[in-house]
């Protein structure tokens, strides 16, 4: 793992937490959406908080795709788990939501669990580096 790869993982974490928080802030202004009132979910994008949230989620998407190009899905998801802690801190200090002790414990448990994975290898299966049966046969024929 190079430092630029850690930077990509940090980008995934920060953008996801910031994006979710901004969406939450915006959706609280938009109000409850029900099945009787479905078009309002499309108009929700016009809310500035939701719009900035979407920009962050696009940043998340770009860094997430980059990470997936060189690491397992079951590595990338846990490796970016610090986002849960970040999300809780943002919810508490920026959105002023109440977070109970139980919820804090849950967040701690999730972070501990997913922190486990980051100490393992980042890639265990890479289909693009494997040789297809046909090219293996071609290679064997050339060597004869």
């Amino acid at each position: 793992m190079t430092s630029s790869k850690y930077l990509v993982l940090a980008g995934v974490t920060v953008c996801a937490a910031a994006g979710d928080s901004l969406l939450s802030r915006g959706m609280r202004e938009v109000g409850n959406i029900s099945f009787q009132n479905l078009p309002s979910i499309v108009l929700a994008i016009l809310n500035p908080w939701v719009a900035i949230g979407i920009v962050f989620l696009l940043g998340f998407f770009a860094s997430y795709m980059t990470a997936l190009s060189w690491a397992d899905l079951t590595y990338v998801l846990p490796a970016t788990s610090l986002g849960y802690v970040l999300l809780a801190l943002i919810a508490k200090f920026a959105l002023h939501e109440q977070i109970s002790v139980t919820r804090w414990l849950g967040i701690l448990l999730i972070s501990t669990g997913v922190g486990f994975v980051t100490r393992g290898p980042e890639l265990t299966h890479n289909p693009s580096r494997e040789i297809s049966p046909r090219s293996a046969r071609a290679l064997a024929a050339r060597q004869k």
């Binding site: 989620l57 919810a91 967040i107 669990g113 486990f116 393992g120 299966h125």
Partner: protein
């Protein structure tokens, strides 16, 4: 009560859609190859072109769109500190299973313990 049912229905939709999306996107990006390496060798336009032309990528984005709107729906009913972690952590457990079956990743004991700890964390969050 209706509010709770709406919230958990939306969370289920987020989990199923984003799990399918994650598997599709991961498969697409493994086909594209290391983005950093490809960028240095062939330039950014080639990288973006290759990603956008990949059918798995398009399928993944469609699933992610469904997940995103389900998230908006859930967030309009419930706090971000419940919806965010609950959906993401459940997705993580579902992904561990899906990645093993569909992506043939080696999900070893370390990764399974992590999945169980995450599931426990989710139960606490929802308590």
């Amino acid at each position: 009560m209706t509010k709770e049912i709406y919230t958990w229905e939306a969370i289920s939709a987020i989990v199923i859609a984003s799990c399918a999306g994650d598997v599709f996107l991961s498969h697409a990006m493994k086909q594209v190859g290391d983005v950093g390496e490809l960028w240095r060798r062939k330039g950014l336009v080639t990288v973006i072109g290759r990603i956008l032309r990949n059918p798995w990528f398009i399928g993944g984005v469609l699933c992610m769109t469904i997940a995103f709107y389900s998230l908006l729906f859930a967030l309009s009913w419930e706090d971000v500190s419940l919806v965010g972690p609950a959906a993401a952590a459940l997705t993580f457990v579902a992904n561990a299973v899906a990645a093993r079956i569909f992506l043939h990743e080696r999900v070893d004991r370390r990764r399974w313990i992590a999945a169980l700890l995450v599931a426990g964390g989710v139960l606490l969050l929802a308590a």
